[in-house]
């Protein structure tokens, strides 16, 4: 494969300028190189942003954590600041393989905008903000508004992700993440369910659910979230909402699974939240 030229920017402003000229930002390349090899994308050159200080680092902020777009999954998993975000760690630990987690970044996972993006599921649950820099201004938008569809984002030409700001959830959230497929690693989810559930006096006080690979983007089934409130986390109580969740998803059939299977499994996984009651 002939790689496009890789340019190393002097600083963030330079990176923005180069991106504006059509350069494609590169850090780990775990998704990008696959696309280049397929010819799905033919940028004139690549902009290696992996060493820009503004894109690096994982810091605690007022009420949250800010993660540089070029932070790798392994860096995020081992950063003390993310100890307060177990749902993020649960999800990132399932990405690819050790090699991919060492190279790949959460910023890349967001910009790749795959409905199967394991990193996106916790970001949807936590209401993360995507901080974008561009030639004109910096802006910040919720991840749900940033991701528009499979591989499509709100990034304008010349813009790149600088960081992600993740608000800390209220105390007491039970985290849940489960990814479904035919093997234990190096797996693109056929369906996934992430959840944050707060339980009080044996009943759900608040529930957030996010599903991957069952719609054009990661999906928050808000009606089911609301319907969970007040219910106990028992199999029987959850089973009453199984069909509602199966109808909330909008899956397709592809080589990995049928739409029908994805629908069934989405509903079934809801029952698995009963494991949170004991854990």
């Amino acid at each position: 494969m002939d790689l496009p030229e890789i340019v190393r920017p002097r600083d963030l402003a330079d990176a923005v300028r180069l991106t504006g000229e059509g350069g494609k930002p590169l850090v780990g390349g775990t998704d990008l190189f696959v696309r280049l090899r397929k010819g799905a994308e033919r940028p004139p050159f690549l902009v290696y942003v992996g060493e820009l200080p503004e894109l690096r680092g994982i810091h605690e902020t007022e009420g949250g954590v800010e993660i540089g777009a070029a932070a790798t999954h392994v860096e995020i998993l081992s950063a003390p600041a993310t100890a307060q975000l177990p749902i993020l760690r649960l999800a990132l630990a399932t990405i690819g393989s050790p090699a991919l987690r060492h190279m790949g970044t959460l910023g890349g996972n967001v910009v790749n905008a795959s409905p199967a993006g394991d990193g996106l599921v916790p970001l949807y649950l936590l209401g993360a903000q995507v901080n974008v820099v561009g030639p004109a201004r910096e802006r910040s938008l919720p991840v749900e508004e940033f991701v528009l569809g499979p591989g499509r984002t709100a990034l304008q030409p010349g813009e790149l992700i600088r960081s992600l700001t993740i608000p800390l959830p209220r105390d007491g959230a039970h985290p849940y993440f489960r990814k479904v497929g035919r093997r234990q690693a190096l797996l693109i989810a056929v369906a996934s369910l992430g959840a944050l559930v707060w339980v009080e006096d044996g009943a759900v006080r608040e529930a957030r659910l996010a599903l991957g690979s069952v719609a054009p983007t990661v999906l928050r089934p808000r009606e089911v979230e609301r319907a969970l409130v007040g219910r106990p986390l028992t199999v029987e109580a959850l089973a009453e909402l199984r069909d509602a969740l199966s109808s909330a998803v909008r899956p397709i059939s592809d080589l990995r699974a049928s739409a029908d299977y994805r629908r069934r499994v989405s509903g079934n996984l809801l029952l698995d939240l009963s494991s949170l009651a004991s854990g």
């Binding site: 002939d2 479904v180 093997r183 190096l186 080589l255 699974a257 499994v265």
Partner: protein, 772 residues
């Protein structure tokens, strides 16, 4: 049979000698096909058919020839010899002439200064096709009025490349005697070899002939194919195997085709020509395991005694014969399983379709039918209310029994011992109880245990006895080190280590003194292919033959040096029996021989014991000996998702004497991993003869996390008189047994019955729904 005087040094056969090729591979120093470069070398890309069945109306390569970096092109007109890749039949052209029969069939070749230039140039080919009716399913291909795909001179009838039978006893009577009859249809799809190193060759014109270096299993096949397309005598064609990163059968026949393609370019351009496939071209256009449909019927008495088996199965061979007749024959012989069955009827068909030719893959036509026969045994056990291990033990072949082909087993049948050992090491009763307790306790998970027993005919068998031979050349160097040349190949299976152990043990030298030369067709006689789990047995006998001859010569020298008709051995020194102070080392003996102009080279030769076959009845001594195995798998199924995980595995093998327990254990664990993939995840969908996603993104093979940490491997060694130190074959057997144990475990866990591979979560969830 002379054995060296014995006791003088520690035995080497039977010890876990570390893999001799491991260090170079781990260090990254091993040189694979794509690592080779020659001055003036061009890179070749194959221009391939886009259509499954079509007449080529026009092949316009003007854009290809004028593309940047292009050195030249080659078409059918540039083939100096015959436009045929000879394998078993002579039906497959090197380059399609007039008609294409599968998507990916080679049409022409382009050579360029770089690989990228060759690829880009190839994309500029303009081909005008006139589509012909195409069929992709064997049932359609055999239907009345189906378009002819098979060449009449390469097919038994119509598109049935081959129809083979076994007729033993009277199945109607056998089923009439049965108290219980089970019946099922089983479906399996492709399995891709997924060797680490893709296919690759470099053809180098030299000395008026052609030398081809490549990643390959069967150098003598390649030599024959290259000589045929170049129209050269075999002596002008030399094949050198490069370090080979896996084969599993995928490098049995395919390298013949690729080497011949590269050789035609090299011959025309008079420049070295490299042809290396990238992964997607490799998956899309090279051989894989035959998809199969198997209808199976088994009858038994109430006490579990088998009375009859009736099997009809169809393998999708693809557009050309390649190895399908041999694959089918092995499937035929193995279809009844390792059991005593008085009445057997098997009909086996391999069928031409407009798909990529299927070929050899570890197990060679047997895993498909093993899935069926082992599923049947479990269905039968359930119907009879019998323990599945006990049902198998009751019917398992023993010494003195007659196989389904009427062969009386005279020695080395360790099947009963395998079953007993498997029961013991798995703690069979306790495991069943633990599983039952788990299943009572868990709401959304179910565990299941599955058994599988197999037999495996070692060697080429009665379908191709001419190929069951091997040559070896041993050369004692002046310093006492030893060079060994063999005609069979190391492809990652550990052959080099095992053969060196046999040579070292036969000679009485340490392993470190023996070095294996690269396999080169110019060094040793045609040794047949490296397939059929025959290397340790047949090549090992040739090495032992050479070692014994050389040892006799060395002992003559020792007697001459010591001036004494007898001698003793201590460590690696030969001593005068009366005067131990008078002694001579192995190296000193070698030096002595060298200074006196002794002949220090010996050849060894071996061939498999006689076999015979009557194709009309399917009677005969199909193979000279059989290996056996019993596998037990414990799986856990998630009832919410259908995901299946293999938690534990127990594998017991009789492959005769185990030459190297460490490499043998590696073979078994690798075969278990491959079987887990076959049973649970590997799937290569195609539409209209086109492989839809030829990449590892969607073709899932097991990762380290999908293979259980708890694998217990044991060997029961029933020695075989025709193998070196009593060894039989092992290579293919672990894969053959493992998948069926996993499949039976899935059925047991779900309460349903798995009748199609792979048991992906979606299919398992359906089983759960049906089993509930």
């Amino acid at each position: 049979m002379t054995r060296r005087s014995g006791g003088e040094s520690d035995p080497i056969v039977g010890t876990p000698v570390p893999r001799l090729d491991a260090e170079a591979k781990v260090r990254g120093e091993a040189r694979y096909a794509d690592d080779l470069a020659f001055a003036g070398m061009v890179h070749v890309k194959t221009i391939r058919s886009e259509r499954p069945h079509a007449r080529i109306v026009r092949l316009d390569l003007s854009g290809v020839e004028s593309a940047p970096g292009v050195v030249g092109i080659a078409t059918v007109a540039d083939i100096p010899g015959e436009n045929i890749v000879p394998i078993i039949y002579r039906d497959m052209p090197l380059l399609a002439a007039g008609v294409v029969r599968y998507v990916g069939e080679p049409l022409a070749l382009v050579a360029a200064e770089t690989r990228d230039a060759a690829r880009e140039a190839a994309a500029r080919a303009r081909v005008a096709y006139e589509d012909l009716p195409a069929v992709f399913d064997p049932r359609d291909a055999l239907a009345h009025g189906a378009p002819p795909i098979a060449r009449p001179d390469a097919a038994d009838e119509g598109n049935a490349f081959n129809h083979m039978v076994i007729r033993k006893g009277d199945v109607a009577q056998g089923f009439a005697q049965a108290d219980v009859i089970v019946e099922g249809e089983y479906e399996v799809g492709y399995q891709e070899h997924a060797y680490l190193e893709p296919q690759g060759v470099v053809a180098v014109p030299e000395d008026g002939g052609m030398t081809v270096y490549g990643t390959l299993q069967c150098p003598f096949y390649v030599q024959n194919a290259v000589a045929n397309v170049l129209g050269l005598p075999l002596a002008r064609v030399r094949i050198v195997q490069t370090c080979t990163g896996g084969g599993f059968g995928g490098k049995e026949d395919v390298p013949s085709h690729l080497a011949a393609l590269a050789a035609v370019v090299a011959w025309k351009l008079r420049r070295p020509a490299k042809l290396v496939l990238d992964r997607s071209e490799d998956i899309a256009t090279t051989s894989k395991r035959h998809p199969g449909s198997i209808r199976y019927r088994t009858g038994a008495r109430r006490d579990g005694t088998l009375t009859a088996v009736e099997v009809e199965f169809y393998y999708n061979a693809g557009a050309y014969q390649t190895l399908s007749s041999a694959v089918l024959w092995r499937g035929l012989v193995h279809a009844p399983g390792p059991y005593r069955i008085p009445n057997v009827k098997v009909d086996a068909y391999s069928v031409a379709t407009n798909t990529v030719p299927c070929g050899a893959f570890r197990g060679f036509g047997s895993p498909q039918v093993i899935f069926a026969h082992e599923s049947q045994m479990d269905e039968l056990a359930r119907r009879l209310g019998m323990d599945p291990l006990e049902l198998r033990a009751k019917n398992a072949l023993r010494v003195g029994d007659e196989t389904a082909t009427g062969q009386v087993l005279t020695e080395s049948v360790g099947l009963g011992a395998c079953l007993a050992k498997a029961r013991e090491i798995s703690r069979w009763e306790e495991v069943q109880a633990e599983v039952a307790a788990f299943n009572r306790r868990e709401r959304f998970k179910r565990r299941g245990v599955g058994v599988s027993t197999v037999m495996y005919g070692v060697g080429m068998g009665a379908k191709a006895p001419l190929l069951d031979k091997a040559g070896a050349y041993l050369k004692l160097e002046a310093d006492g080190s030893v060079t060994l040349a063999v005609g069979t190949t190391e492809m990652g299976q550990g052959a080099e280590t095992v053969l060196v152990q046999i040579a070292a043990d036969g000679l009485g030298v340490p392993v470190g003194m023996v070095r294996v030369a690269p396999v080169d067709t110019s060094r040793v006689p045609d040794s047949g292919p490296t397939v059929a789990s025959r290397t340790t047995t047949v090549q090992g006998m040739a090495v032992l033959d050479a070692a014994r001859r050389l040892r006799l010569r060395i002992e003559d020298a020792v007697r001459a040096i010591l001036g004494c008709p007898t001698f003793t051995v201590a460590g690696h020194r030969f001593c005068h029996p009366q005067d131990p102070a008078r002694s001579v080392s192995f190296a000193e003996v070698a030096r002595w021989m060298w200074t006196r102009n002794w002949d220090m080279g010996v050849t060894g030769w071996a061939e498999g014991k006689p076999v015979d076959w009557d194709p009309a009845t399917g009677h005969g001594n199909a193979y000279f000996v059989y290996s056996y195995a019993c596998h037990i798998a414990l799986v856990e199924v998630d009832l919410l998702t259908g995901e299946t995980r293999v938690n534990r595995f127990w594998a017991v093998h009789d492959s005769g004497r185990i030459v190297n327990p460490a490499t043998a254990r590696g073979q078994v664990i690798g075969g278990i991993a491959q079987g887990i993939g076959y049973a649970l995840m590997e799937e290569l969908p195609s539409r209209d003869g086109r492989i839809l996603a030829p990449s590892f993104t969607s073709y899932h093979i097991p990762t380290a996390r999908d293979v259980p940490a708890g694998i217990a491997v044991a060997f029961v060694e029933a020695p075989y008189s025709g193998g070196p130190f009593g060894a039989k074959g092992l290579g293919e057997v672990p894969l053959m047994a493992s998948h069926a144990a996993v499949a039976n475990a899935v059925s047991s866990a779900t309460g349903g019955r798995l009748r199609a591979y792979p048991a992906i979560p979606e299919r398992v969830l359906d089983l759960v729904a049906k089993g509930a």
